[in-house]
Symmetry: C2
Subunit: 400 residues, 2 copies
């Protein structure tokens, strides 16, 4: 058996980021930048007013002074003239500060007078002026390569005048479920058969990580069918489910070996999900997950999500964890890294409490679906009393 971490590192070592793709700004949300966003302009492009009021010379604003209003500078319509001694220009938030002015007299501190404007409170030089480039400057890197774009990032890229973005191409993941006994939902089920759930669950997992899952037709347990479907190709990664148990893996090996398939079969010290196939069909990496749906999904979280992150040029590799207090006593662990299906609740102080489901049977998909996260238990972790701290992979927040 090899450790989970060793298996993950071996898989990641065989994964390359996808190439760049140009997409419209409007299609950029949640994509990962392949090139940084460099600002095409300076914002604000000139000194602008931070308030509604009057652009003035600060030296003219003794309390009670009178100023004559010679024009207006709303946002987007700069005042072409200059503010001379004793003059003021009406200005609004975002309006360019006209030449000659060095401060903004806010409107609350002025009053209309017969011959113009009366100053109620003096203003210091520079007050209420946002300097040119306060937000960002032309040529500045605003968003680095490797960043997954948020709504705010899209706004910032827009403000810096980018109609296009260069992002990593969405990873295309072929998903091949194998087994004579499985059928797609809604199709006639053979006697003793079970409904195939892995391909759809894994395609959703791929979508949650920003990839594109392609669900291949179910392959019966014969080498020719598996080989034909696996080789239909063009994927950045092929994921198979089933045919990974002892004995069964010969089938996948036999199916793919004829095409020069380099295959490793690993027993991984983890629970649920022990056997894993990892190899390469030509240049295409192949990840073979267990057929058990709970094992397939947990292995998907542990191995496939990090692979998808790397394919998109993201730095994060292992699934993120949170710290939580154990909601029950936890027994000591054996040699296999465990992933306990658990609910997450807040305690009175606002901290997380993770309580494992009472049944951890790897056949119980409903228990996995209703879990909020997976408590990680390291190999040989000692017994932990209720309230001790554990690491938890929160699943629902990932959409996983």
């Amino acid at each position: 058996m090899i450790s989970l971490e060793e298996a993950r590192q071996r898989i990641l070592a065989g994964i390359r980021p996808t190439g760049p793709e140009t997409v419209a700004l409007a299609a950029g949300w949640n994509r990962v930048l392949a090139r940084p966003v460099i600002s095409r302009l300076t914002q604000p492009p000139a000194d602008v007013s931070a308030m509604d009021g009057y652009a003035v010379r600060a030296g003219d604003t003794a309390a009670g002074a009178r100023l004559s209003v010679t024009g207006a500078a709303p946002a987007g319509r700069p005042f072409a003239g200059e503010v001379g001694p004793g003059e003021a220009v009406r200005i609004f938030t975002g309006g360019f500060v006209p030449a000659g002015a060095d401060a903004i007299l806010i409107q609350e501190n002025a009053r209309a007078a017969a011959d113009g404007l009366e100053v109620l409170e003096p203003v210091a030089p520079g007050r209420w002026i946002r300097r040119r480039g306060l937000d960002f400057a032309e040529g500045q890197e605003l968003l680095p390569a490797g960043r997954r774009l948020t709504a705010r990032d899209i706004g910032l890229a827009a403000a810096s005048n980018q109609p296009w973005l260069t992002v990593h191409r969405r990873p295309r993941i072929g998903i091949l479920a194998t087994g004579d006994e499985i059928a797609l939902p809604g199709e006639p089920l053979p006697p003793g058969g079970i409904v195939s759930s892995n391909a759809h669950a894994l395609a959703a997992l791929v979508a949650s990580a920003g990839g594109e899952g392609i669900i291949l037709p179910i392959a019966p347990d014969d080498a020719g069918s598996i080989a034909a479907l696996a080789g239909s190709g063009g994927y950045d990664l092929l994921v198979t489910t089933g045919g990974a148990s002892v004995g069964e893996h010969d089938l996948v090996q036999k199916a793919l070996g004829r095409d020069g398939f380099a295959l490793d079969f690993w027993k991984i010290a983890m629970r649920p999900g022990k056997p894993l196939i990892w190899g390469r069909l030509g240049t295409m990496p192949v990840l073979g997950l267990p057929g058990n749906p709970v094992s397939a999904l947990v292995c998907g979280v542990v191995f496939l999500l990090p692979a998808l992150a790397r394919m998109q040029g993201l730095p994060d590799q292992a699934p993120r964890t949170i710290q939580a207090a154990a909601g029950t006593d936890l027994p000591e662990n054996d040699i296999r890294a465990d992933h306990l299906r658990a609910t997450l609740m807040r305690d009175a102080a606002g901290g997380w409490v993770a309580t494992p489901a009472s049944r951890q049977d790897s056949s119980m998909l409903a228990v996995l679906a209703s879990a909020d996260g997976l408590i990680l238990r390291a190999p040989f972790a000692p017994a932990l009393p209720k309230g001790g701290m554990v690491e938890v992979v929160p699943l629902a927040a990932l959409g996983a």
Copy 2:
């Protein structure tokens, strides 16, 4: 001025969930169920083996006993006969337990013998058998209405034999940016003009919440153009940006009033983002956000995300918060609920520390984009020393 919470409640009171839509299982990820998923089958459909081994009568398994192997029951291929006294049937994980057998003798506890099988360890009745319906039963509600579907949920729905799901239709949000001074990214910019960023940022925010944002052409500051674009309709909600400040809102009111627009203009005790328009054009709700990009996005998080949640039938309304320690001293707050742009880091104990950016100027979009979350400061919150606990809306995790 009205409070943020009052404004949010008034808005939510005017929002209805979208109707149901039938989508293919494969398109169901991240959608919100409008009807529960009820299982169409019982899983497992019969008592099945939890291990690889032999289906036996427990009473026959004294150590050293010999059993004759009369058949095999792999997963998906049930054994048609019965296990009689002194007999065993080879069985694999997931295989149906044949009639007559009441336990699984795991393969590690048996040894091939000349005349069949030698028992090494006895087995108790019921051992290693997963009972019919252990995971779920036909007719059982597996996923409730109002649930946003995870990858695991898709797997569970598949396993329960659902090729279709009934979900809330994606909310269609029309987004109308107004202003003579703005232009789309990459388009010629008028002198003193600024690049429009709100519509794209808000469309991304809508996408992050599972809605569909429709970016309308920019409306110049004239009532006819605004009215024509706003009325182009078919949206579940129209969001406008700009034209919401004092004085300006007359324009939107004038533009929409001719169509029987019922409009409220609110000053909300919040920062950033004070003025808000809320009304109804025919049956279509209209939300008017400030033109300032930081204010528009923060108001989007505070008002639009909860509205999108309600439109999809989700129970959550206010954005979720986490508890964090303040990374700096925080001054006492004034009458306006504040939203401090902050970074989030872990302290040594694994708790969150939220440190506000040194500049909170509402014109600084780059500061907002680089923030990890918004520290909520209630109206008149007293000064808080560094290390005191604050509530934070984590933005990046939302994709917001």
